[in-house]
Assembly symmetry: C2
Homo-oligomer: 720 residues x 2
Amino acid sequence: MRHRLFFILPLLLLFFVTDYLHADDGYRLWQRYDKIEDAAKLNGYQQALAEVVFEGNSPTLLVAQKELKDGLSGLLGKAVPVSQRITQAGAVVAGTPASSALIKSLGLENRLKPVGDEGYLLLTTDINGRKSTVIAANTDVGVLYGTFHFLRLLQTHQDINSLSVASAPKIKHRVLNHWDNLDRTVERGYAGFSLWDWHRLPGYIDQRYLDYARANASIGINGTVLTNVNANALVLTKEYLVKVKALADAFRPYGIKVYLTARFSAPMEIGGMKTADPLDPQVQAWWKEKTNEIYSYIPDFGGFLVKADSEGQPGPHNYKRTQADGANMLADAVAPHNGIVMWRAFVYSEHTPDDRHKQAFNEFKPLDGKFRDNVLVQVKNGAIDFQPREPFHPLFGAMPNTKLMMEFQITQEYLGQGTNLAYLAPLYKEVLESDTYAKGKGSTVAKVVDGTLDNNKLSAIAGVSNIGTDRNWTGHQFAQSNWYTFGRLAWDHSISSEEIADEWIKMTFTNKDKFVDPVKTMMLNSHEAIVNYMTPLGLHHLMGWSHHYGPGPWIKDKPRADWTSVYYHQADENGIGFDRTKTGSNAVAQYFPPVQKQFGNIKKCPEKYLLWFHHVPWDYKTNSGRILWDELAYRYTAGVDTVRQMQQTWNTVEGMIDEERFNHVKMLLAVQEQEAKWWRDACLLYFQTFSKRPIPQGLEEPEHTLEYYMQLDPKFVPGI
Amino acid sequence: MRHRLFFILPLLLLFFVTDYLHADDGYRLWQRYDKIEDAAKLNGYQQALAEVVFEGNSPTLLVAQKELKDGLSGLLGKAVPVSQRITQAGAVVAGTPASSALIKSLGLENRLKPVGDEGYLLLTTDINGRKSTVIAANTDVGVLYGTFHFLRLLQTHQDINSLSVASAPKIKHRVLNHWDNLDRTVERGYAGFSLWDWHRLPGYIDQRYLDYARANASIGINGTVLTNVNANALVLTKEYLVKVKALADAFRPYGIKVYLTARFSAPMEIGGMKTADPLDPQVQAWWKEKTNEIYSYIPDFGGFLVKADSEGQPGPHNYKRTQADGANMLADAVAPHNGIVMWRAFVYSEHTPDDRHKQAFNEFKPLDGKFRDNVLVQVKNGAIDFQPREPFHPLFGAMPNTKLMMEFQITQEYLGQGTNLAYLAPLYKEVLESDTYAKGKGSTVAKVVDGTLDNNKLSAIAGVSNIGTDRNWTGHQFAQSNWYTFGRLAWDHSISSEEIADEWIKMTFTNKDKFVDPVKTMMLNSHEAIVNYMTPLGLHHLMGWSHHYGPGPWIKDKPRADWTSVYYHQADENGIGFDRTKTGSNAVAQYFPPVQKQFGNIKKCPEKYLLWFHHVPWDYKTNSGRILWDELAYRYTAGVDTVRQMQQTWNTVEGMIDEERFNHVKMLLAVQEQEAKWWRDACLLYFQTFSKRPIPQGLEEPEHTLEYYMQLDPKFVPGI
């Protein structure tokens, strides 16, 4: 008998490990509870964690309890029992004072108060002489968040022997925006199609809905806008609302509220009215009634997101009303139900001759203080449109009497779409840490967004989702890190890019240093690499027409000038770049004076924004000592070179993770290298027609002619 | 130490089992190699199977070797070693005489000859006094097929102690037709979107391509048409051909050839020509050159599938040429490369006043003998269009000098789409076993298709794929059984529906009788249930406009009469049904006399085809003794009742399989029950306006009014 066990056990383990190493489709995201491989760590955790003590049975608490049980059992490689009271040392006690007499008995009121409605405490403490770990919160969802935090500590091999953590989100609404259409296409989606299988709702609840909610809860995301900002009013009809209700019911235990985009002309399209004028009492009444109907299905419906008067969407302009008129109408409809309205500032018009960069500011700044209390103006991180790099949007700090929220793009519309590895924490952090000087030095964008600068309790942040039906959710394995990053920064924007990458890598792949260190470096360099091979030195909006895939610096003569590339790069024989100083569009004047002075002065302007704000001669001497043309060529080349380094790095980690994910990334890096070269070659050849200068010696020459690149015309590019 | 092992082992097992029971997304299809639970069976297999002996390293043999190793290791719960020679009793020796000296030494030539290029032998034999199992074939792919057969025996708990199996496919080309568009939508697709991620090809080879190929190989499918019959010529451009090549390379080791649909007007659309006239020498030259180009990328390219002169597709009619002229032009282009052309017989025109049922026959019958040797005319199972039930197509047997192939629809366009459980083996078998009487009694459709009736070596069968990006591949868990069924019947159409269901259930779920028996009954009744609640007694084509979802018996006044429902049911105050006898369209005359006599005589016509061939008075007395109207009501009701029985059956198996798949099916059965009621109520209410008779006593009354059902207008239905 003993012999037999010795025989079977290693084989079982072998089979498990073999399976793990050979096939992993990435579906589990960062939520992996495979047994910890580090023997010392494992042993320590096994000693410290013996049972789960849980009281209460709300849907959210049951989710937390299952998570804790499954997580511990998996990570520790032993079945961890759940009990209603402590039976031994090493208990993990989770709950709220309301749900758990044991938690209540710990007298944590004073420590719990500051963590509010969603925060939690993680404490190591003695209970009746038994060393225990406590996950305590004021609310059930706080317990769930604390559970995920605690499991993350184990997944990343942290010390848990003397925990004293208090955590609460810095931003109240942490929301994904799905640009998902009702036909399941996803605008700017590069991970397959929409998760929402509207046709089979409400009867069929796909397991992915629950796994999606669970993943979001694990990083603190508490809201989801299900539908595209380029909206379809049909989602507001009863036929669809019963489907939305089914999703809301599925998400609720995970603390996730559902929002919808409201098409401004809905009263006409589905309400049979002749106008959608926001000041028309009948229109207002229609929206109130419609909103009441929605809340009758979904009592905790979050509210509306609106894109109006932009890129063909209807809006208050159609009736000569202001954005505030439009937003307030909807705000009044949702206010009785404690709903909010997120009103996008992404408004610009082809009929306005002014620099597109300035238009949102010009439109919204005069409306400061005119929005209802439950309106948030949703501002993209930059003034153009999610370019590989943009200076922060001048509206941040400029509307002290209005709640501004941040809109980041997680999906990589302009960052290599479905094939490029781009870790976006550095981009998000660069924006959040930018200083607006609105109330003097230190008035960062983050403080505007989290409400601390203007003392707003209502705050929000949105991320345009990169999630789709692909088995790994995000198309590119590493794009999972951006979903993760968005959630983590929405909870606490002070975490560094390095910390987030570290966590994510360890949870997603392995804790082995030989993997974590090089892969982290690769991730941290990845965004800058893309900026370099796409739009270095402040260039922007050079991509292919409509689908935005690949280079198109030659794009011109389109229905709207501000949808062409030549409008933005302004290359001519003298130089390149958009003059946004006093001698040009003077967009810099929209920033507070200290920023103006920096961005507006070619000598002080950070080189990364140089061509964003200045038209610069080809022979202008850059920081490196090289003239602008040469520097441009060097940057483009450096971008490609970094991708090649990434390939080399990745090759060194072969065998440390499963073959499937390894090969997935390897293949995509090879595609990225090709696309990086394509960008470099096409842009340099094109700009060379203006600069009339050679590619600097020692740099790789373009592979094809400019004509070759200009005739490329990729078909059926995803995301449109 | 001993204590510890005793502690860990059961926990490991527990964890594995727990995981298995709680989360299974169906991705593995019928290819599950979980450890056999039946202790006696397991023990027997473990004794009998000790090692895998494999020589040769072609890509196909390596695939077979891995399958055998992984399969045995998983099913037996022990790592089964691979060796190059026999080291112990219980060897599984696999190979061809060419790849394996050991196989060659067994002197199997005479036994191998009859199994041909794809067949195999499974033999229990003594080799040097050691009892061994031999998987032998003439070709590498034969070894792969034999491997899958052998594993299936274990998965279904068969006795393997004295194997003596010789198996060869009855049909040469066993092909899936994907109606996949280049934008990844799938016409009549209800399982998400197209697997082919054209945008990321050729650089990115999705793991799903390999898993798709492996699944097909496991059931003997050896070809795949990648693109929709409603074709886009772009797939024939270099930009796409390099992508097609990447797929062909991925599929090749699994014995799967790639085919493309050829848009007839491609020479004009992508070739810059002014005509696509098949008799124009320049057009012929263009196709030859294009074909040579394709073969330069894909040396084993299978050939073309063409839909011409049908539903808006261009074709030889545009130039007053025949279908043979069109097919032969392409056949001549692929012939030097041993390619084939599959030319669809689904040709009918809105300009032809004749019964649509007759048009394909009228068009093709006169062309018998005029097609090149490498052309197969691809005929749908019935003369209309994949209805829930159709009598067999009159072309079968009618073209003895032409190769006819079968086209079945696996995707459930008319059979409940993505939400209804329909096991289609009974439908396929009913058609295949139909007797055409072409050469006297016993001239079954199957014999036409497999070539034995007319002595054709070239034979083929196509199934319109139900595969998409859904995690479980086919949307509905049970729709996997239809993919499986198609492959199994394509290999051997003599297998019964019961046998196939038995195999599939055991491989997909469990071998437990308490599960297998009731679920098999449920599957075997499922097709008839749908016929009953959609189109009983020979009714057809009653579904919703364009998307074909839900009932639409009232559809009329559309651009084409033969796309309306009233054209097909002909209901009036006197009765219902399409008179296709001498007094009507006389479509029955297209069948051979013994069939004519049966179908054409209301007294002899099988009741399941009654309203297909006859316009029948409402008070006509049916076999049950009930008048037609009452019988119709009974049938509709019986369909709904069967679904309710299926729900009850499914509830009894809770706990016998994983929760995820159990719930998936349970939810969909509830949806199906609703849809069945919808069909019944809408159709009975509508036909009642003609019959003017009450719903028979004791039958459930419709839930809503006819007006209610007529105003339902589902949006964004998948599959169009």
